[in-house]
């Protein structure tokens, strides 16, 4: 009985999302999950199902980040030159946004370093750069890193001594994981990036 109620709620949720009743009715629970992932637009990054670990040592499925507008970027915590600047740039962008927009955005940083990152290094980075609660930082295995970088179009390469060469790009993702804004390079004019974020919000995200 209980399962039936849950099942019905799931169906109701799907219908609410604009799903055809015929599909929902003929689906079993397992298929429902598949169906809802298909509801994502074809260019949504949340079609990646990679696994990550955050600063609180919790496992986070990448696709579970759907449903909230996000600013994301790839960094690594040992990085001394570019990454701190990148964080600074994100802060500047956030500061330029109207409060009702910025308070809805979560910032997510993903580490290139699949070998040496852990929750301690993530937390150190977070406190060193005074990142508030709406910032998260994650590390993952080699394959998760290369898939995410590939989807975003971020180039990187590990060098001897554990440093990484990488492109510095900050992305704005809407709730369904479409890239709606992009800021390349460091310390550049961010007016267009800010505008893109705002207009994405005006369109109902």
């Amino acid at each position: 009985m209980k399962t039936k109620i849950i099942f019905n709620i799931l169906i109701a949720l799907l219908l609410w999302n604009g799903f055809a009743a015929s599909i929902a009715n003929s689906c079993e629970k397992h298929n429902l999950a598949v169906a809802s992932s298909q509801a994502l637009p074809g260019d949504s990054v949340y079609q990646l199902h990679s696994s990550w670990t955050d600063q609180a040592n919790a496992t986070v499925k990448f696709d579970s980040l759907a449903g909230k507008p996000r600013i994301i970027a790839m960094v690594y915590t040992k990085c001394k030159s570019a990454c701190p600047l990148l964080v600074h740039d994100i802060k500047k962008t956030i500061a330029k946004l109207p409060k009702e927009v910025s308070e809805k955005i979560h910032i997510d940083l993903f580490s290139f370093d699949s070998d040496e990152e852990n929750s301690v290094s993530l937390n150190e980075f977070k406190s060193k750069y005074e990142l508030s609660d709406n910032w998260s930082i994650y590390y993952g295995n080699k394959s998760s890193v290369s898939e995410l970088a590939a989807v975003l179009g971020v180039q990187y390469k590990k060098l001897d001594g554990g440093e990484y060469v990488h492109s510095n790009v900050v992305y704005f993702l809407n709730e369904s994981g479409e890239i709606k804004g992009k800021q390349e390079g460091l310390g550049r004019d961010n007016n267009e990036f800010v505008r893109n974020i705002e207009s994405s919000f005006k369109k109902g995200n």
Binding site: S44, V45, Q47, S81, Y156, L159, R188
Partner: protein
């Protein structure tokens, strides 16, 4: 009749043979990168088993049948562009004359999933360059001839040349995806020249070619750096590798 049986037997023997020798063992070696970033060392490669031939349309068709989420109809933009498998007749139909031709019009994600499905992986740039024997003068001659040719019709894998490691078609048939294609940072992203090194890259240094005469290698690196993970190309396929115990 006897002839027919003989032929059948012959085919059987041939197929068994082909199956058992479909991978080539590569023992440990050292690859000296052609383009180096600051502090970039020589790379140890091997030991592993590399596919002797690039993956064919026939083999890829089998994979798509078993993994219909990789059919043309179920294509996702983010994983494969609109050219994905566009030379196939439909989701599960390939021209018979294309069966033994290397599969092309596949994205990095598709190639990667294929290898993963068979408990293998794509080769890294270092591994690919090493086993392609590109620095062998003999290979270089073939490569330059191929790069300069305008005939783009894909040939059956059996028409490929066998290199000194016993691998077929590393040059002359198709270009191949590699796992870390996006780490081939040549000039592609240094668009804004002097600013780019500081602004776009962390820990960057000057890229230096070891031997400027090897322009063929430069072309491969330039080509790779022009790709996106969902890119597909008429002449872009792949092969897989499996680490040896």
């Amino acid at each position: 009749m006897k002839l027919l049986i003989g032929l059948l037997l012959l085919q059987f023997v041939f197929e068994v043979n082909a199956k058992t020798s479909s991978e080539v063992y590569i023992k440990e070696g050292t690859y000296s990168p052609f383009f180096r970033d600051k502090n970039e060392p020589d790379v140890k490669v091997g030991k592993f088993w590399v596919d002797k031939y690039p993956v064919t349309n026939q083999e890829f068709l089998k994979f798509v049948r078993l993994n219909p989420e990789w059919s043309r109809t179920n294509r996702k933009d983010i994983f494969a562009g609109s050219g994905y498998l566009k030379h196939w007749l439909s989701d599960f139909v390939v021209h018979s004359h294309q069966l033994k031709v290397p599969v092309s019009n596949v994205s990095w994600f598709a190639a990667r999933k294929y290898c993963e499905f068979y408990k293998k992986r794509l080769l890294t740039i270092a591994e690919w360059e090493y086993v392609s024997d590109a620095q062998n003068p003999k290979a270089l001659e073939l490569i330059l001839k191929w790069y300069g040719s305008t005939d783009q019709k894909l040939q059956s894998v059996s028409r490929g040349q066998t290199n000194s490691y016993g691998l077929v078609g590393m040059h002359g048939l198709i270009w191949e995806w590699v796992e870390d294609f996006s780490s081939a940072i040549v000039s592609g992203d240094s668009r804004s020249s002097n600013e780019a090194n500081g602004a776009l890259f962390c820990g960057s240094g000057a890229l230096k070619a070891k031997d400027p005469s090897q322009y063929a290698t430069f072309m491969r690196f330039a080509y790779r750096s022009s790709l996106k993970a969902n890119s597909t190309g008429l002449n872009l396929g792949f092969r897989c590798v499996k680490d040896a115990e």
